[in-house]
Symmetry: C4
Subunit: 256 residues, 4 copies
């Protein structure tokens, strides 16, 4: 991260180093606090959603949630204030996540159950990991990310194929099973086809007619073979993105 023209003695400069950096003792402390604040506030939201607990401690939850959201709001404005280029921060990936982490609370008035969406603030942990330089984790995440990025296009082609497949299967099952067996519409049948081909198999919709069961059997066996494809793609890309020590040894051996 290039740090642009920061006056290290001004208040803004000092704040920037604490809030955005993790090289100083204060900066690291700030990030560790942030980590615990984020985790605690998510735990509170999860507990609040349990009816039995909410009914007994409704005011407490409201106060706790208000407290954390106010803290995060202050942090958000401090980040805007201390950043050399506030607009750049506002539009950055982390800036948008920071905003979405506090917004739902203030919109509760318009959308009562929406405030639970502040669990999105778990994504803020990404920044904490990055800053605290949990380097081993970051390294492995990097390897995974590059392998997945290399697989992405192939997986997209594969996904388009799956979408076309479930559309056709869904339509056929809608025609075969009909509304009286729970396949009430083509979108509903497509939902069934996805549940089946991914081997999730809830069982909320199941074929009732003999023909439907035969078609389902074919779909399931197909899905069995199809699930091999993304696995194959990722495995191959992953084995390519990793260093190959043995071949390297071989080269060394050849040069001697």
């Amino acid at each position: 991260m290039q740090v642009m023209a920061i006056d290290r003695n001004s208040l803004r400069g000092k704040l920037f180093i604490i809030i955005f950096g993790a090289n100083t003792r204060k900066g690291r402390l700030f990030d560790v606090f942030l980590l615990y604040f984020i985790l605690t506030s998510i735990l509170i939201v999860c507990l609040e959603s349990v009816p039995k607990i909410r009914n007994n401690y409704e005011p407490e939850f409201f106060y706790l949630e208000s407290f954390f959201t106010i803290v995060f709001t202050i942090e958000y404005f401090l980040r805007i204030y201390s950043h050399p280029k506030p607009l750049k921060y506002l539009l950055s990936f982390y800036g948008i996540i920071d905003l979405f982490s506090i917004l739902p609370f203030y919109l509760t008035y318009f959308m009562p159950s929406g405030h639970y969406l502040i669990t999105i603030r778990i994504l803020r942990l990404l920044r904490v990991f990055r800053i605290l330089k949990l380097s081993s984790f970051v390294h492995h995440a990097q390897v995974l990310k590059s392998a997945l990025a290399a697989s992405l296009q192939k997986i997209t082609v594969f996904m388009l194929f799956i979408v076309a497949l479930v559309l056709i299967i869904g339509t056929i099952m809608y025609v075969v099973e009909g509304e009286e067996n729970g396949f009430t519409s083509i979108p509903q049948s497509i939902y069934w086809a996805i549940v089946t081909i991914t081997t999730v198999g809830y069982g909320d919709l199941t074929p009732q007619t003999s023909l439907g069961q035969i078609i389902s059997s074919v779909v399931m066996i197909m899905g069995y073979a199809i699930i091999a494809v993304p696995t194959g793609i990722v495995t191959v890309e992953m084995s390519r993105s990793l260093p190959v020590p043995k071949t390297a040894d071989l080269i060394e051996c050849l040069s001697c």
Copy 2:
């Protein structure tokens, strides 16, 4: 695609270049229009199948569907007219799909719910992708296709094995569980065996007796190991069909 003896100035020649080609501005425009027409018409069919929506807008849906089918029918006849060898087109893969994309509508009279099958026109998108030369996608699709083609025979052997296995397991479970526990026939039990071994597990049929549960457990654990086989096949073929940059580097190194 070799283009045979087309008089570029005749109406047929001009139409052929627009409809079948994508090198001219008009040809590309035609394909883009086609893409949106196909997607829109599929969306309409999906929406029409939802009972609540259909009941409110029945005539509108009929008009829209008629409109799209008439457009595709005109396009179909223009394709036949403009192609240098109409019969070859009619019997080609895309020619058959084009026919099946309009046929169900005209057969509604004989088979009322059959007209939903026009969602098969999603396969027409294959042609659009090919013509618009979405080359990156086409390349990746090619790699996947060749890997799957190389795996096909092995997967077929594997599938024959699975078919024999589910037949035997199905029969055993039919004898063990019997009709009073929902395993009402051997085909029904085979359906259960497929649902189980592919790990879909709807739960519409489950073993009730202790012996049945023990056999099921064995089947599930077997299925667990068996699912590894197609994945292994595809992964190995995929890693063989991909270029191996490191070995290439090695060869270069050796030649220096």
Copy 3:
């Protein structure tokens, strides 16, 4: 198959060549007939098990089944008669399958629904495949078989681990959920653990308590990682059992 001291002119010798071999026109014809007879007789047993069909055609099914079983019985005795070493045939893999393919029918008197088990005669197709030298299939089956054989020990170790795991998980869930939530015994809970860890997930038994759901979540995520292990084993063995053309090219290049 070494053919031992067969008098090609005697009846036994001629029968042996027709029944066990596939080099003569008659021998091949015999095997093709056998193929259709096996498939037809299995189809009949499957159809017979469907209550609606059975009730309407009960005598017909009995006659058909009797006919096929008598044919297979005659074939069985001809095999014994014509084989140079009858005892060796009787105790061979195929000899035992041939016996089990006819036995259930004759035991119907003692175990009424047992006669369905004659579907085991599908295993006889293995011999037909082998004899008809469907060589491509046999080759691929061979590759799969050798890869699986190489994986067998590792997969056995893995399976023992899974057995210990489901035993412990099953006991914990039995204690946590208790009989009132459907986990009526440890074997029942082990059955649940297997259904869960293999990702089959029927849903006939599901955790009802919060603690049970938390433990289940951990089990499922573990199962998610665990399913990777057999796949990894098979893939690695499969990639080792296949010829590696690129390395071969490399060696050639080196020798020049």
Copy 4:
């Protein structure tokens, strides 16, 4: 295992060699007995948990369980007595498992159904395997273990990602579906998200609203691609931890 200063003629020394070793005839016999005792006692606990069996043989089960636990308790104290460094044994992995294998029985008074937890004694088999030097098994277990250990960090990163994902998906579904459709709290919705993304799919909770079904479909297709990741990780690590015969051949060829 280094054996420290054991007086082979004292009682403690003799006991140590029999109980902890497997080089002498007596030591091996001891371990084989232990193997059968462990398996039998686990079988008894499993059978006891079945209500129908328990009700008929309650006293017999109590006596059998007491017998086995007393035997294992005596063995436990003999291990402490004969080990040169008793504290080291007590705190070792196997020492703790040995304790937990007998403890639940004695705590029955405080936690009636807890005594079933003695099935944890199946873990004691690990020692028996190790001591009996079932070397082929131990070797394969070693290969698996080292491949899994190498994958562990990558899988941990992946798991943290899954945890964040199911939290966000769970919250969204809680808001979308609401308590009236069974998504009664965020933890409950997270449980649903895990059931779905691991493709277990019990079907005890299923999306009822159209929007919920659309989100579920996306989650399932994502889960389909995501399941490829741990498989890829394990496969790659496994192929790296295995000897590569072909490259070795290549090196030999080069040196000639």
